[in-house]
Every structure is written in C-alpha cells, then in structure tokens.
C-alpha cells in the first residue's frame, strides 16, 4: 500500500476508534427509540380500536371506518423516529467541533503528538472529515435497517385486516423527513449531504482559524463564515437584483449554487491547509 494512503487509513481507523463509543450510543439510541415507536404506536391503535368496539358495541368494520386502517406510515411519523434523527444531526454537529478541540483539552495535549506525526497534516484534517461522514452514514444505515425491521414488527402486531396497504418503502417515501436523510431521491440526498459537507468543511476552517489566531481567529472565523453564507445565498438574490423572478432557470440556479459551494469548499480546504501547516499553535 502506498505509504501516504496507509497513513491516512491509519489515522481514519484511529479516529473511528475514538468515535466508536459515541457512535454506538447514537446507533443504540436510534434502534431503541425506533423500537418504542414500532411497538407502542400500533399497540395504542389496537387498544383504541378494541375500546371503540367494546364501548360502542361496534364491529371491526365500523371501528375501521372510525379510526381508519393502521399503516406503517403511522408508526414512523412519530417523535420516536424524528427524535433520534435530530439528536444524531446535532450530535455530529457537536462532534465536528469536538473532534478538533479535544486534542487541546485537559493537561494531556494530544495535539502535540498528532501535529508531530511524519505525515502531511492534511491527513489529520481528512481523517477527521471522513470519520464524521462515516458516522453520519452509519446512522443513515441504521435508520434504513431499522425501518425495514420495524415494518416486520408492526405488521406482526397489527391484525392483517386492520393493516393498510402501504409497504415499508412507500411509508418511507411518504415521510418528508426521509426524503433528505435516506436516498429516496438520490439528488436530494446528494444535495443535502453536499451542503452538509461544505458546512462541515467551513466549520473546520473556522475552528482552525481560532486555533491559529485565538481571539483574533474568532473574529476572522465569524467574518469568513458570514462571507461564505452570503456568497452561498447569492444565487437566491439574483432574481431580486435583476428584479425578475424568471431571469434564471432553476437548473441554472442549482448549477451556480453547486459551483459556488464547490468554490467555498476548495477555498476552505486551501485555507485550512495553510493554517494547519503554517499557522496552527499548540
């Protein structure tokens, strides 16, 4: 294996080791919380149906007319599903900051060791970036697997005649939350992940600015972040500048936005490289 690739792999595996506990907690939380949804939601429905039938002396058909059939969608449109996703997203946002600052934390300054490794310092950068994305994709995978297992659980709990004709995939496609976090629409998925990636790359730059210039770096970071945001929003302002809503086709706006985000990402990586190799301070 090429030496440089080997060192990147080493560092990535090392960072993944350090992430794993946090990741396992998030995966466990997702499974557990989803499991509650898969069991509690249909059980609640069944008890409501039974209660209606006994209190109203109604037939199963009449109860169905009152409450409708239970679909898998009902079981996944709950806070037990959305909650761990929100925790996962905020968890990884927090981790994106933590992954750098922990090297300087406490009396053990591991940053010394990392910065003195005989590997290009950008390998540290990329290993941290890759690991964050690996973590995010692990949670997405967890969510997909959980949903398909969940469908089996829900369909086993709800009696066949009460269970609506919606399969796992349709239920996933119906839930607007999943359009962005599961590759239901590949381009949306790529778009969301692309924007997320640029966000993390910019965030890394801000952190490295702070680590290089301390308080001055915080101000530089705020200015840089605000500039990146303003430039990213520029395509949305074109119609206002030209006072014409149709001056650009939506596809052109997407292309411009993609170009701008790529430019921001490349600039941020170059700035980060400069900071990490020339300006970073222990």
């Amino acid at each position: 294996m090429k030496k440089s690739l080997k060192s990147l792999l080493n560092l990535t595996a090392f960072e993944l080791d350090r992430l794993s506990k946090f990741l396992y907690v998030l995966i466990g939380l997702t499974f557990l919380s989803n499991l509650i949804s898969y069991i509690v939601t249909p059980m609640r429905y069944i008890s409501r149906m039974n209660e209606y039938m006994s209190t109203q002396s109604a037939s199963s058909q009449q109860a169905l007319e009152y409450y409708n059939r239970f679909s898998f969608y009902n079981a996944i449109d709950t806070v037990w599903i959305a909650g761990p996703i929100a925790i996962g997203i905020s968890g990884f946002l927090f981790y994106a900051v933590f992954i750098w600052y922990r090297e300087w934390m406490g009396k053990n300054t591991f940053a010394y060791r990392l910065l003195m490794l005989p590997v290009p310092r950008m390998h540290l950068y990329f290993s941290k970036l890759i690991v964050i994305y690996l973590g995010i994709f692990s949670l997405i995978t967890t969510q997909i697997v959980s949903l398909f297992i969940g469908f089996q659980i829900v369909s086993a709990i709800v009696p066949g005649e009460w269970f609506a004709n919606v399969n796992a995939l349709q239920a996933i496609q119906m839930n607007p939350l999943f359009i962005y976090i599961i590759p239901v629409e590949p381009m949306y998925f790529l778009g969301v992940n692309g924007i997320g990636l640029v966000f993390i790359i910019v965030l890394f730059t801000l952190i490295l600015m702070e680590r290089s210039y301390s308080i001055k770096g915080i101000f530089m970071g705020i200015v840089y972040g605000a500039a990146a945001l303003a430039i990213s929003l520029f395509p949305m302002l074109i119609s206002d500048i030209f006072q014409n809503q149709y001056i650009l086709y939506d596809s052109e706006i997407i292309l411009i936005l993609t170009f701008i985000l790529t430019l921001i990402a490349i600039t941020s990586i170059l700035v980060s490289r400069h900071l990490l190799t020339k300006k970073i301070t222990i």
Binding site: A13, L134, S138, V166, P183, Q243, N244, I247, S251, I254
Partner: protein
Amino acid sequence: MTKYSKLFSILTICLLTLVGFTFYQAQAESVRPKVELVTEEGQAEELDLLYFLGNVHGYDSYRNNYNTTFEYRNGEMHYFDDLSILQKVDFNFTPRMNRYTEDYRSFMRGKSRQTDHYTETDEYLLYTGMHSDVNWRQFNDNSLTISLLDKETNEETAQEVHLTGGSYQSVIAAYLDYPSLTLVTQALDEDSTNNWLIYSYDLENPQDEIAPVINSKHTLGSPTIQLSDSQSKTGRYLSFRTLEPGETDEYDYVLNHTTSGYYVYDTVTEELKEVPSFEEGETVVLTEAETILVGNDLEDDIVWSEWNFEDDSLTEQGTASMVTPTIGRVQVHYYDYTFNQGLQLINGRIYAFEEDYVEDMSRPLFQVIDLDSFDTVFSGYIGVETNLDTSQAELVVYEYSLDYLLN
C-alpha cells in the same frame, strides 16, 4: 482483528445498505403503468395534436405503489422520472409552457410562466405580461411588456406599454393577427370592482400608453364575465359570456351561477355584440379565424349554426351527436375567468373533452367532430394499462393542450 477491521466493516455495511436500498427502490419503481389512447370510434390520428401532462397513481395487489407523472405527446408517454434532476427542476406542469421553455429557452428567460401570457402562430411567439408578473416584489404599476419572437430569424423585439383605464391589471389573453394585437385584461376600477378591458395595439406602431377600447363590464352590464378559452388566440372574434347568480340557500349563499348571455367582440371593427339565444337548450359559442359557430346544446346533440356578426343572421350547419350529454360542456364556476376549456374549434374540427368517471375512477374522454360532415371522426378515452393485477389506478390530467400548429 486488524486495526482496519472496524473501518472496513462499517464502510461495507453502509455501502451495502445504501446500494441495496437504492436497488430495492429502483426495482419497486419499475412497475410503470402505460397510458394509451383507446379509440372507440374513428381514427386515433385525429388526436395527434393532443398534448397533456398527467399523473397515474395506484396500488396493485402486491402492495406495490406507483405514482408516475408523465408527458403525453405525439401519442407517446415521456416519464417525468426519466428526466435528469436539472430537467426536472426546469419542468413546467403546464404543457404549453413546458414546450416553449424547451424550444425557445432563450426567449423564455425573464418571462412569466403563465399560458395566458403567450400567443403562438406559425411565424411568431408573442409574450404579453405585466412587469409585476416577473418582478414579484414590485407593486403592479400597469406596465405591460410586449415581446415578439420571429421564429424564422430568432429575433426578439420588445416594447413597454402603460395600460390606462384600471389598476392592478392582469393579462387574460392576447389575440394576434400581426401586426394587430388585441389584449384582454382584468383590472380594478375606482371602486375596486373587477373590470374586463379590451385594448387594441399596433405592433408596428409602438405607443407608450394605451387606453381600453371597451370596458366590457360597463358595456355588458354584468360584474361576472368569462372569456372563451382559445388554444390558438389568432381568430378575428373573441367570445365572452356573462353569469348571473342562480339558486341561493337559506343564508342567501349563491349555490350556482347560470349563463345570462353570450357576446362576441370583433377585433377588426372593435364592436361587441350579443349572440342570439335559443328558446330551448343552452348555447355554446366557438370562434376561429373568421368563423363564429353557435351551438344549440340539446345535451345528446348540438345543433351548430354559423352566426354572421354583421347582419346578425344565423345559418344552420349541421347537428353533431355528442358521445355523452355533457362532454365539452364543463360546469360553470363563477370564479373562473375563462370558459370552453373542454371545447375547442381548431382547423375546422371541434375537440371536446370531459373528465369522465367510471366506477369512481377518472377517465379522460375525447371526441373530435369534423365540421364538414358533423361526423365524429374520433371518440375514445385515455386508458391506463398496467402489467400487474391492478386493484386501483387513477389517472389525472393536469392540463391538456392541443398543438394546433401541428396540422
């Protein structure tokens, strides 16, 4: 366990799951219904100019779901899902706008996406839209943009005209007989009530400001007016109708509206005249080029006569049997600003459309009548065909269009 095993196993699980999910989804989506024109009478070619956007939604007994948006053009289906993401975001769910943005992308830049703002002839594509139609932050200052594309030279000429006679102007239709342009707008008058205004404009003699030729509301004495929908918008005559409130409920809420009169405007003489009504049955009015066709709607049959605008004479042409008692004659909704959406006169043929329902399922029905013989040269419907044991399938036509330039 090597130091990479955790990395590679997580990577493999992620990849397998994501790829597996994508394949599973693609396989589930491969259930594609086919939409086809089913001929019950006549020749299917008669409807070659039919162009519409639709959606089929349904389930089959294997709990596979399908929901397909498609474009039906030249007798073929083009699936929305097959478009690239960039094509998808530029897609208009209005058939004509979609074709214009495809064929005249540069001309369409900066122009609104409302069918009403366009008129197309063999030689020209005309755009008539208010400034505020494209600048959503601007207060409507009654400034109209007129842009004309010469299809042959690909040259675009633009003019700005201020419309007087009302505020909050919006363009309903522009009729073109180059260089003469007749513009129909809706606008508010001083007491903030809705007005229908007709303007006349010479494209070769640009003006900064134009005043309405006719204020239809004043002339027709009715606040509720509708303009006949026209695919081509090139004829000499424009037909209007006025509505009056019908039955009311116990709280005086108007339950329905009925037609109180039909009127035709001559773009050459700039005159507006009432169309004679029939003692029995409803009236339908269609116009094309120099022709005004007035039909006596007897539900199963429509007796067609040609009306002479100058001498007011009505000459019977023939009777056409309609395949259903309501085809082409869509229900009156007072809030629509056009009527005749289901009935069009194009190149000497009447095209009738109706959203039919069979066992609670929508079934778009079409009938084409030849005006020489008054025979039905085509009747049929758009059917959905799936290769699966379909328990339910619904076809929705978003909007249909007749590509009148094809003939």
